[in-house]
Structures are given as structure tokens and as C-alpha cells.
Symmetry: D2
Subunit: 341 residues, 4 copies
């Protein structure tokens, strides 16, 4: 059966498995102190054009969000996010588990607006009662968002500017960052993200790795004793090489960008086909996730042949569903999908 269910249904890019095999019997020190982690860090710094970056590797997205947010916030601070942000809805309360509130802003196709952020911060500080409230201590963006949308360069710069004027860090969740950077409809680059954000992560799990996310603190602003903090959260991998080798491979010869671009090409092909079939797009997504509004009867028919994800139920007879491409999507599968439709 065809599947466009998500961007993590296959294993890893073959180049990664090849490198894991080649290096397998090398004896390396543990906990991320090996040479492959070092090389990967240097290559990521170069790709970010950010010589002041500190880089760490973690295994998954929720883990990364939880640890970064907890490590960077003071106990009395919360993190500002869109009401649809991954940390707000789909991480089982991982942020609250660490004692911090997610302070929710309205969302517009998954994004927050700079004006809402500015108003929220101004209102907080003007509130005579703010000592009894959760202090805003960080802004969280996902890019691409949970709806596949992207911040523009101007939007990102405006939000960054507000964060700096209020002296709170800006954090960007890049679980699908490759697909955002390689979109045909973006003016945001990796160095721009490094410039605008205090910390962000480059997603590996959904972009060709078996697991792994690369955290980038952009100005030697790693929280004190961060390795101990990772250990305390149960997230320090003994064989750190597993993450180092994967990111070293992804950032060699632009592999990360090339495979991301492939997913975008496949998504554009799929979009074109879906338009031609007269599908109703829930919103215009410039990345690898496409959200389609479908009649439930049509969905019933389709799911016998194709796997995809259920998103929301706007009314009793329709559903919004998601079709995702990835680094592993084959052109012939797009063609087959169109035939089925």
C-alpha cells in the first residue's frame, strides 16, 4: 500500500547506514565526546555561518523541546507559543511536567503574529498584578509550523527584535527544518535563523536520520552544566556516536539539504496533482506536509489504497487530512496516488 502518513515511516538515508557500518568497530569514547560528534558540530557551525555556536545532540523532538525550555527558563517563567504549537498540544504536557506553563498566543495558519507577541509582553509588564503571574521567559516558534507554513524573513526578524527588546530568548523548533529551508517559497536561510534565534534545533528524525536532533545555541549561551542537565532528564546517550555519525553524514556534501529538496520536489509534484484533481486545500503549505479537506465518503474509498493522517474534523461530513512527502518519497508513488485519485 502507498503511504504518505508521515515523514518518519522509513528508516534512515542509506548514506547514514553506510557510515554506521564503516565506523562500527572503531572504539570511541561515550556520551557525545567522540570525534564524529566533533566533526558534525564543526560542519553544522559552518552551515549556520555561526562560529559562536555551541552544539548538542539529542534523540527526539519532544525531548529536545523539554530540555531546552526547562534549562533556559527560570522557575517562575513560562514559554510563549502558538495555541497550536507542538509543545502546547502534542507533547503530552512535557513542558508542564518540568514545571513551566505554556503561555498561548492566537495562531494564524500555525504562526504567531509579532503584534500579538508585543501586546502580550506589554500587557504583562503593565499589569499591576504581574508578580502573581507566570513571567514570559522565552518565545517558541516552530518552522515549518505544525501546518507546514513558514515564517518570512521579515516576520522572523520582527519577532526576534521584540524578543531582544524584552530580553527573552527566541527558540525555534526545527523538527522539519530542512523542508522549510528547501521550500521554493522562502527567504529564510540557516544563517538567518542562527542570527535571529538564541537557540534552535535542526531536526534529523524527520529528515533522514534514524533518530536525532542537533541543538544550536547561537552565541555561546549554553546553560551552565548542560550535559548534567541532559543526564538529569535521562537523555544522555551512552553511544553518542549514533547521533554524531548521523549528523556528520547529513552535513557532508550538503546531504541534509539535498534530501530535503527532494521531499519538496515531491510535495510540489503532489500539490500540482491534487490541484488538478480539484482537491480543496485547507491552507497553502510551501513545505512537505499538505492539508486537504475531503468528504468522509471519499476518505473511506481512498484509505483502502493509501495511508495518510487524519487532522481535524471541521464538520460532520468532512475531514482535514494530511499527506506528507519526505526524503524517501518516490516519484512513482506520487504518480500512483494521482491515479488512485
Amino acid at each position: 500500500m502507498l503511504s504518505f502518513e508521515s515523514d518518519y515511516i522509513e528508516g534512515a538515508h542509506e548514506q547514514i547506514l553506510k557510515r554506521l557500518l564503516e565506523t562500527n568497530m572503531e572504539q570511541l569514547s561515550g556520551y557525545g565526546t567522540d570525534c564524529y560528534c566533533e566533526r558534525a558540530k564543526e560542519k553544522i557551525k559552518a552551515a549556520c555561518k555561526c562560529p559562536d555556536a555551541d552544539i548538542y545532540f539529542l534523540t527526539g523532538g519532544t525531548q529536545t523541546n523539554q530540555i531546552i525550555i526547562d534549562a533556559m527558563l527560570a522557575p517562575y517563567e513560562g514559554v510563549i507559543a502558538a495555541v497550536t504549537g507542538h509543545i502546547s498540544v502534542h507533547e503530552a504536557g512535557a513542558v508542564e511536567y518540568t514545571g513551566h506553563k505554556v503561555l498561548e498566543l492566537p495562531q494564524y495558519e500555525g504562526k504567531i503574529h509579532a503584534e500579538d507577541l508585543e501586546a502580550f509582553l506589554r500587557n504583562f509588564w503593565q499589569d499591576a498584578n504581574h508578580e502573581h503571574m507566570v513571567f514570559p521567559g522565552m518565545v517558541y516558534l516552530s518552522h515549518p509550523t505544525e501546518y507546514g507554513t513558514l515564517y518570512s524573513r521579515t516576520e522572523l526578524e520582527n519577532i526576534s527584535c521584540i524578543c531582544r527588546s524584552h530580553q527573552i530568548p527566541l527558540y525555534l523548533d526545527g523538527a522539519r527544518l530542512g523542508y522549510g529551508l528547501m521550500s521554493l517559497h522562502t527567504d529564510v536561510t540557516l544563517p538567518l535563523i542562527a542570527e535571529c534565534c538564541d537557540v534552535f534545533y535542526i531536526g534529523g528524525t524527520k529528515v533522514g536520520a534514524l533518530c536525532g536532533e542537533a541543538v544550536v545555541f547561537t552565541r555561546h549561551n549554553t546553560p551552565k552544566h548542560f550535559t548534567t542537565c541532559i543526564k538529569q532528564h535521562g537523555a544522555l546517550l551512552a553511544k553518542g556516536r549514533l547521533l554524531g555519525i548521523q549528523f556528520d553524514t547529513l552535513f557532508t556534501d550538503n546531504l541534509y539539504f539535498r534530501i530535503s529538496r527532494h521531499a519538496i520536489d515531491m510535495a510540489e509534484l503532489m500539490k500540482k496533482g491534487l490541484y488538478e484533481k480539484g482537491c480543496t486545500f485547507y491552507l497553502e503549505s510551501p513545505t512537505n506536509q499538505q492539508f486537504i479537506l475531503m468528504e468522509d465518503t471519499e476518505i473511506e474509498r481512498l484509505r483502502k489504497h493509501v495511508a495518510f493522517s487524519f487532522w481535524e474534523k471541521p464538520d460532520d461530513s468532512h475531514t482535514i487530512v494530511r499527506f506528507a512527502t519526505s526524503w524517501a518519497t518516490k516519484k512513482e508513488d506520487i504518480v500512483s496516488l494521482m491515479e488512485i485519485l
Copy 2:
């Protein structure tokens, strides 16, 4: 200067101080095991017409909310509350500090609607992804709400019914419960609350006590080892008598209800005067807190003579302010307020 700033600007009802003096040199066992705590519990059970109640005393409202919510939720559960609920906004993240998310519903003059609650719960369980979300584990109401409004008997019964059908406890924050029960515009009684809720608290701090709230678990449903839980939260008073004697006094000869009624009488007098002065009420409050929309210039003039609270700023030239009466409000102060206005 006159003050209507809050309902906790004076000390305690004189009867309470008298009893503290009379019993002062009695040698009593600690941690809430003394005879006055026992007597207070019996009297509260009788007032609630709830023989199956278990009762505990704590010192303040945020502490009570934090401990009850934390003790009754499973780690993967959050508490549903109005977006304006005290736990959502004005407790500095005390609930999140214990690891639980506040799941926010829309508010209507401070209240939640049964339909929104029902829809929220239905959507949660229907969501294919709900294993990745915070489970709804409790419903929190404040009664009176933060805006002085009250649930009707029907509203309370409907919400209670939804909670039972979804098998989640209903918790009512009664920081100002006396003022709600003695309102001229309510059909909700203390026994009804005991019947509808799994747990609630009867506020003392704002209704005549120096400090203290009485927690009522309505059907012998106290969480296991709850005293240890209180101790673990740093909330077990060594001289538990301080709380026992106060609640014993408040629930002797209906003192709690009589002084609450006095506050309501004063509020009604104030409301009448404010209407006559042509004041704009932000909403219709049937309890001791009155919210008035005022021009900022008028506020400037007034605050030289009267203390009151700032609530919200709807626009650049107006402010919503709060005038509160209490058990201690004197009739002549209401008269003076009217003269100043």
C-alpha cells in the same frame, strides 16, 4: 482613607480573635489533630449535609488549589478551567509547578459553559492522537468567579453531570464561597455544592479569618496519605489549632453565613448607589465584588480619597476597576463613597 481594595484588608472577625485568646494556653496536639479541628469538621459536615465528607484545613487559596489538583490528578492529566480562572492566570503557575497543565476553556463573565466542556471532552477522546496529549483529569470552577459571577443550580448540575459521565472529578474553588451562598441572586446552596462536586473548599481568608481554607472531599474520596502529601508541599501547619479554632468559630451559630450576608448587603447598597451615580458596570455581579468601567481622569480624582483595585484596560482612556465589600465593611463607608462620587 476609605478602602474597597479587597476583602482581605482587615484582620479577623472579633469572635475569632476572642476564641483564639480563650483557648490560647490549652495544650493541644499538633498538625491538625486537636479537638477544635475535629469540632470544626463536624460542624462543616453538618452545614454541608454531607456525612461522607472528609475535611482538611489549609492556609491559603493558591496552596489549596495546588495541593488538591496535584493530589487528585494522575501525572499525565491536566485540569480544565476557564481561561480567566484563578489557577490559569493569577497563581504564578502553581499548578504547572506541580507538573500539570491547565487546559483552558473559553469564559463567559468568568464562567465556563457546559457545552464547551462537553465538546472539549468529546474531542479529546475522539482525537486519534490523544495518547500524545494531556488527559483531562479534573474540572475546576471558581464560585463566585473571578468576576463575582455565580453558576446557577442548573449550570452546576449540568457540569457535574458531564464530569460524572466522563468519570473526572469536579472541583470548586470557594475562596469567596460565603459571598456566593449569601447572594440575593442564587439558587445554589452548600449542600447542593457538596452533592455536585467531588471536592471543594470553603474560603476563610476572604470571609473573616486571619487565614485558612476548609477543604471538603465529599464522599470519603480523600487521596491516599493526604496528610503526607500536605507535608510534602510544605503546607502542614504545626499549630493546626490556628485553623481549627477559626473554622469552629465561623461555623458556630452561622457566623460564616451571617458575616457573608453582611458583605452582600453592603455590596447591594453600593451597587444601588453606583447605579444612581450613573456608573457603567462592566458586568452584573451578584456578589461582593463590583466591576466598574471608568474614565481615567475620574479614576485619578477618585483615588485621592478611596482605594480600589485596577482590573483591566479596555482602551487608552478607560479602566475597569473593582470595588469590594467584605464582612468588615461599614455602612458609613458606603455612604462616604457615594458622597465622594
Copy 3:
């Protein structure tokens, strides 16, 4: 029945109740911002000869330990304490509840030794693996200890010196501080404690107050947004006056010291009598708690007439019991005790 069960079996010193009555109907602002809190702070600063002190009032000892330790430690840090320290054993895990480990040192009659502390710290930093361990972030002393014993000036200075050389704060739990300061066998003064410690608290609950502990940060080193932190822990009293008035009274005309001295006088009288009766002292305590080793048969007889506390069971036929005096102990009760013995 006679009772020497603890130092918190009576209410408050009459002078405190008198002041609560006198000030009862004054309208004061909430949350510790009233004039009595201010006055109490000034008087405590003077008593400590510590003009750089910041002072806060909390309701109980476990609450105070929990909040101070949590607010001063980094997330990856723990607090060093004697294995018999109150936080190690008798606070239901209140410190661990906030995410921090209690790092236990051996105890000698309730005290830790400077050499053990120095060795512990040196070993930690020398351990190649210390990034995988809990960092020592504070030293906790109780003075008097849980066994009624006292640190000498030299001991306190040595421990303080080690803390400073390792740049970790020294915290002293003074739940019974008055009884320590007024002991006939001490060279430790309140200003010395202020000099040696980074933070400590002056216990009220066990020294004549209804409730209340005064936290002293000795060099304007209050953690950032500490009031919000108190609120977040559910510990911010709405009627802060209750604490302010009590400590204002205790620190007027040396009341705190005078009533503490009374308890010591009563303890010395009791000690003399117990020696004369041939009692076996478990250890030599210079404060208001006396620990006696008794045969179980003797205990059975005695408890019909006198209340006291059970401490430990060293063997099958003996028990260590505690007799405590307090600010409220009457001379005739000591005489009666001797007659019963």
C-alpha cells in the same frame, strides 16, 4: 495532664495576641506589603546587625526549607545535610518534591563535621564522573539540631569558610533559633549567624508565634522574583499582616530573646531534676529539648501522668524519649514532673 510533648502545644505569647487584637481593624495592604511587615524587618535587621539583609516571612518550617532551597539551587544541584537533618528525614521529601537531592553527610549528635564536608566537596570535584552526579549547591545546618545540640562559633566559622571557598551558600534552619541563642552554653550570636550564613531563618512557630518564620538573606542576595516564587509554591499569605505583626511583636523589647531564655531556664531546671533522679541522658543537650533513655516499663508508668515524645528504640526494652520546654512552660510543671518521677 502535664505535657512536655513539644514546644508548639500552646497558642501564642499573649503579647502577640494583644497586638493582633489592637491592629485588627486597621486596613492594610496584602501579601506582606503592610507597615507591620516593614517594621518587623527593620527590627530583625537591627537584631542581626545586618543592614544588607533582605527579609521575608513564611508560615512554617518545612515550607521555608522547601522554598529557600528550591529558589537558591540550580536544577542540577542538591543540598548537603546531616543524615539526621530535618530535610533529610522528617519533611516527607519536600526537597526532593522540588527536584533536588539531599546529599547526606554523617552526623555527630545531629551535627556535621567540617572535615566531612571538605572531603565530600573535594571528592566531588575530583571525581572524573562528576558531570553525571548531583552538584553540591548548598549546605544546610539546623541550629539547634534535631537533637538539641549547637554548633560552636569555631565550628560555624569553619563550615562557613569551606562554603565560601567552594562558592556555595550556607543555609541555617533556625526553627528553634531562640533556644539556641539563649542557651547557657553557646558562643554563637545572631550577628555571627548573619555573618557566617548566606541565608537563615528565625523560627517563630516554636518560639511563641501562632505560625511564622522570618527568612533572612544576609547580603541582598534574594533570588530574583522571590515573591513570585513564594506565590508559585502556594506560600504567599494574603493577610501578610498575620506574620508581620507577630514578628514585630517578637522583636520589640527583646521579647523573642526573653521568652527563649525562659524556656532555657526551665530546661536547665528540668535537666538538674532529671540528673538528680538518676536519669540516663542520651546526649548532652544545651537547649530546650532533652533526650532521655528509659526502660519501657518506666515509660508505661510515666505516660499515665505526663505527655512526652518517643524518639528512637535502641533495643527491645528501652526507648529514647524527648522532654521539651518552651516559652510557655511553667515552673510548677517542672516541679510536678519531678514529683511524678
Copy 4:
């Protein structure tokens, strides 16, 4: 350079990499719901002879300890462990981070004694004050221990029996379980462990996997909504296949046991050589970790040629060091080590 530094310096057993390659492009559902996870679970159940087992896969040992302990304890409970237990010392306070105290017992070559456990539990329940203490809620054993030692069948059964009579679960940390089971000096089998314990984990990271531990709840006693709990701790791997395929491979054709046995054979060879060289063993270890007491001058010489771990410093001129074998140790490396010595 030769290395006996740890049992996680190489990648994964080649059979595992082979299977990862073979299955790489299969499209599988995420979060541990794939067929390889299912197969691995069935094979583990069979190996444990435990049809009532529920099995989950996590990535690392500290993560596993943290999640199991947090999920199985009530908030007021702590976990009993040897003072040298991994959770007590070398997990950066990961257990305390989740709010639970580690209740430490004395250790004897890394093990706890049943008598100490029994006495601890009896004392707790007899203590009149136990409501103010952390309740014992679980017993944690490591097997092999941190010193390579093993519980005997009788020891394990006795501890299990005490746990059951006190109705607290027994948890066994099997980070190096394979090496324990394949020891030449053990009467403990995998089915026995499943019988004695309520929950345990079979370590993969140190026994041939890239990462991964298999948690076994032995009697359908998985905590409610455990997947959500894993997600909340940031530990739910999107590509659960990574863990499923590895454990499926390890439990096919006894691979886990065969490679563990190889490590034991290498350890026995090394032990024999070390004895012949006159080395002083710090203790008698029947598993893959050997602890040797060496003069510091000898260590200086040796470390130029061989990597090993520093353990403890018993005095100024000696050090205890650890030599570890693993599934990947080559016989010729043992021979080379002997030549160097």
C-alpha cells in the same frame, strides 16, 4: 591503543546493522507500533517464560530508571536502593528530578542485604512519625551491580518475598543483564528474574545494541497510560523500529545470550591473566567488569598503552581501576594486555 574502558565503546553487533539495512525502506508506523517491536516483544516474553509480561522499549538506562520509578511510585513514595546504586550516585539526580527520594541502604560489594531491607521497612511502619516521612514505594536492585557482582537465587527470592509481604514492587536494573545471566557463577535465570520482580529491564546499550533497553512489566502491571507517560518524559521515539529491530535481532537465535557469553569468556581469560600477573582484585566479580587495585606509578605506565576506567582512590598512592570486556572484545586484545602487564 587497546581499550577496556567500558562495554559501550563499539557500535552494534553486525547482525543488528545488517537487519537495520535489510528493513530500512519498509514503511512502518511510528512510536513503537510496528511489527518488529511486536516480534521482539513476543521473543522476549518467551525468553522470560512470562506470558503475562507487557514490554516497552526505551533508549537508555537512566531514562528507563527515571520513567519506571516515576510511573510506579505514588507522589509521596521514594525508592529504596543501595547507597552505591546507579540511581543513587550516577544519574545526576534523575529520580529526584521527578520528585522522588532515593532511600539509601548500606551496600555490600554493591548489593543490599535482605535483613537491612526488612529492618528499614519495619522501622518505617513502626515510626510514630512516619506520616512526615517519605514512604518506601519500591525496591531497586542492579544486577549485575555497579561492582559487577550478582545476587544469588536465594538472595533475590528473599528480597522479592520481603517486597511482596510489604506490597511494594521490586525493580531490577539490568543494564548489563546479559553479562549477569551468562556468568559462570550464577544460579539466576531470566525466568527467575521475571518471577521475582514486578518490573525489570534488559539492557541493550551495553550488550550489543546501538541504544535501547527492553522494559518488562511481569504481570500485566503496566502503569495506566504508560505510553503517554513516556511521551511526557520526552522519551517516545518516533522511529520506534530502531529499538524493535535491534531487540528482535538480539532475541533471535539467542544472539543476546551468545554475545554475552563471549564477554564473560573474555572476562574469565582476563581474570586468569591478571591473577597470574599478581594483580590485587578489589573484589571478586563474576561478570564482565573487573576492579583492580593498582599503584599510581603502575597506572601511569599502563595508561600509555591501554585505556581503562578510574573508579575510586582508596589512598594517596593507589587507585581502583576497572577493566571491562564486552560482546566486542577480541581474544588477541586480552593477550596484548597481558603482554603489556
